[in-house]
Amino acid sequence: MSTPQATAESQAHAPFLQHHFHEPVQQAEAAKIGMWLFLVTEILLFGGLFTGYGILRMLHPDAFHHGHTYLDRWLGALNTVVLLVSSFTMAMAVHSARTGERKRLVRFLLATLALAAVFLGVKYVEYSHKFHEGLLPGRFYSHKGDPVPGVHMFFSLYFVMTGLHGLHVVAGMVTIGWLLRRALRGHFSPAYYNPVEIAGLYWHLVDMIWIYLFPLLYLIS
């Protein structure tokens, strides 16, 4: 076995160093590569939906145009601002972790969590309005009086795309909650903060996907 003494020594300097890495930098870089690769898979996952959106919009241009008028673009814009600000607070959380300011880290993580909750709250208001009007996906669409056929296809994509994005927001909130717990226990320091950093990368991606969803769904003209 590798000398237990050396292992114990490096453990004392870097408490979260896993046994198969030589040094914390190597571990942090590996984690970053892993997260970037995961983000690539996320982009391709949504990429399939964006492609489907492109094809169906090409097949039903009028239905998509009419469908988007049922969305409240001000609520969509509000949510865009909310997520952009949350990306800022997340970036500040990473910065605070890097500089070792624990209180600020906790505050910024809390702010990000709160903004994510606001986003989901707005989404809830929008969804319940759509449910009420019968603006539901595909087979369940029951809204009457559309001047063009096929509006249900717009709402199929609206719900699948925003629904999948919403699940990612929830996953991000769980991750940030976990970071918060670890931050409160004092796990993070300028020598070890890569969980905050890679969770930050994920959160920016969730934000970025919304940046694309907002014009594609709310701003068709």
């Binding site: 076995m1 590798s2 896993q18 046994h19 198969h20 890495f21 190597q26 870089e29 590996a30 984690a31 590569i33 892993g34 690769l37 995961f38 690539v40 898979t41 996320e42 391709l44 996952l45 949504f46 990429g47 399939g48 939906l49 492609t51 489907g52 094809i55 169906l56 097949l59 039903h60 239905a63 996906p137 595909g138 087979r139 369940f140 056929p149 096929g150 249900h152 296809m153 199929s156 994509l157 719900f159 699948v160």
Partner: protein
């Protein structure tokens, strides 16, 4: 060997179920995928038995549809895709790199449990109605048929994550955990093959994920994206499906090629010919694989121009593939060839893969494909590539690394007999199907015209010989676990790092951190003819 190794250091079921050791996870993957292969094999035998007569033999048509669907789904998603990367690759990749483990051991274990969960979901379909869509789940049939399609699509979604996690692990490990001195061109070619495979796993699998998810939503919520009645497009499903599933074919074959690149130099005791060409051809195959999916849809109403472009791009795949084959053959030239089990399978691979690859060109040509599409010719082609290629390479790798994994040697005589039976049985089973297909026997049919019976009987009898050969393999490999001789650290004279540690390796792989100062195939020079003459004189 003395001292504790990864198999004996800790004991008990819990020490396996919660292990983070890449070797133990690899071994668990190995037994699980072999179990899946056994199940898929039994289903294949049932299919062949049913087809021995032109009419009903032992099952009705609905059951037959379910059996061939499950055979395909089990073999693809539960055996071929995970077998080499997640079972053998998990075990040897960190050893080949001189690392103590993969970059993310917990993700690795999560990958295994996702595999188990997906496998249970897929197999639960057996008792919840079965599925009869074929492993390709084409819409609109798959959105309208009954049975357990929902369960199986979710299983495929879960299995996709398992595959993605393995890919992420391998790329991060290759980048960050190479031993000191191991630069990119001192990496064994197996690692290059795994790296190329991981690229495809990461880029293609998410698209399959969203495709099966949309199929699931279509069935449950009627979202209509693939439903022409609601304004959707069923051909879009085929595009999505093959955008993953054609690259996935290379997820299956690249690891096989990676094994052959290890076995041939060691059993020829010659440096590999064209190291860089083989390394880059793996990456080239991975790249081109994303641009050829449309060749599955020549008769699905895509435009002639698109078909012509896809056909041309498909031919491009032949270039890096042929680069590999010629380099392997050139490596053997003037080598000191030892025909032991791994090498016998490697040569079998060369023969069968050549047939599988060349018949792929027939199918990639627009004019011949119209005639051969959805016939037994296609079935024979992909079995030559998937079974004659990947599975035979898997056997080569299994025989090559078995002594390292379990510390035991198997019976070489039994291995030779089995390899001969596998070769004869395989060719009898599938060469006949090329002929059947070119004469117009459609795939997936339950009944057929009487004039096809002779070849079907030949194919079925061939499947019995093949199964007998594989049972012998199972027999002597399992027997070796209970019997001596114990394996030495380096039974084959390999130069890569896994042979520098004990068999089986200790828990942390190496007692001392290996340092690399040469290439992976720098064998000592063979003696020249004059030297041989001088020595014997």
């Amino acid at each position: 060997m003395t001292g504790a190794n990864y198999l004996t250091e800790t004991r008990g079921l819990r020490s396996w179920l919660f292990t983070l050791d890449h070797k133990r996870i690899g071994v668990m993957y190995l037994w699980s995928t072999l179990l899946a292969f056994f199940l898929g094999g039994v289903l294949a035998m049932l299919i062949r038995l049913e087809l021995i007569t032109p009419q009903k033999t032992l099952m009705d048509a609905d059951t037959y549809n379910k059996v061939f669907t499950l055979h395909g789904a089990v073999m693809i998603f539960l055996f071929i895709i995970p077998s080499i990367p997640a079972a053998l690759g998990n075990f040897v990749l960190p050893l080949l790199l001189g690392a103590k483990d993969v970059a993310f051991p917990r993700l690795n274990l999560a990958s295994y449990y996702l595999y188990v969960a997906g496998a249970i979901m897929a197999l639960a379909s057996l008792v919840t109605g079965g599925i009869d869509t074929g492993w390709t789940f084409y819409t609109p049939y798959s959105t309208s048929t009954g049975g357990a399609v929902n369960l199986v699509t979710l299983a495929v979604f879960v299995l996709g994550f398992s595959s993605i996690f393995t890919g992420i692990n391998f790329i991060a490990t290759t980048h960050k955990l190479r031993a000191p001195g191991m630069n990119w061109f001192r990496m064994p070619l197996f690692v290059w093959g795994m790296y190329a495979t991981a690229i495809i796993q990461i880029l293609a699998t998410p698209v399959l994920g969203i495709t099966v998810l949309l199929l699931f939503l279509e069935r449950v919520f009627g979202v209509g994206i693939f439903d022409p009645k609601l304004g959707g497009d069923p051909v879009l499903f085929q595009h999505f499906f093959w955008f993953y599933s054609h690259p996935a074919v290379y997820i299956m074959i690249l690891p096989g090629m990676a094994i052959i690149s290890e076995v041939i130099p060691v059993f020829s005791q010659r440096p590999i010919f064209g190291y860089r060409a083989i390394a880059f051809s793996s990456v080239a195959i991975a790249g081109v694989s994303f641009l050829v999916w449309g060749h599955h849809m020549f008769v699905s109403g895509q435009s002639v121009l698109a078909s012509a472009i896809f056909s041309f791009l498909t031919f491009l795949v032949a270039i890096p593939s042929a680069v590999k084959v010629f380099n392997w053959v050139a490596t053997m030239y003037k080598g000191s060839i030892r025909l032991q089990a791994p090498m016998i399978y490697a040569i079998t691979f060369l023969l069968l893969f050549a047939i599988g690859g060349l018949t792929g060109l027939f199918l990639g040509s627009l004019a011949t494909d119209v005639h051969l599409h959805d016939t037994y010719f296609v079935v024979a082609h992909f079995h030559y590539v998937m079974m004659g290629g990947t599975f035979i390479a898997f056997l080569a790798g299994l025989h090559y690394w078995w002594p390292k994994m379990f510390g035991r040697m198997y019976s070489e005589t039994a291995a030779r007999v089995a390899a001969a039976l596998v070769f004869i049985g395989f060719n009898a089973t599938f060469l006949s199907q090329f002929v059947l297909g070119s004469r117009g026997m459609p795939r997936r049919y339950y009944n057929y015209l009487p004039e096809f019976q002779a070849l079907h009987v030949l194919s079925t009898v061939g499947s019995w010989v093949l199964a007998l050969g594989l049972l012998i393999v199972a027999g002597y490999l399992l027997a070796s676990l209970r019997r001596k001789p114990e394996a030495p650290p380096n039974p084959w004279g390999g130069m890569t790092l896994e042979w520098q540690t004990t068999s089986p390796p200790p828990t942390h792989n190496f007692l001392e951190q290996p340092v690399v100062d040469r290439g992976p195939y720098d064998f000592p020079p063979l003696e020249t003819e004059e030297e041989t003459v001088a020595r014997s004189a």
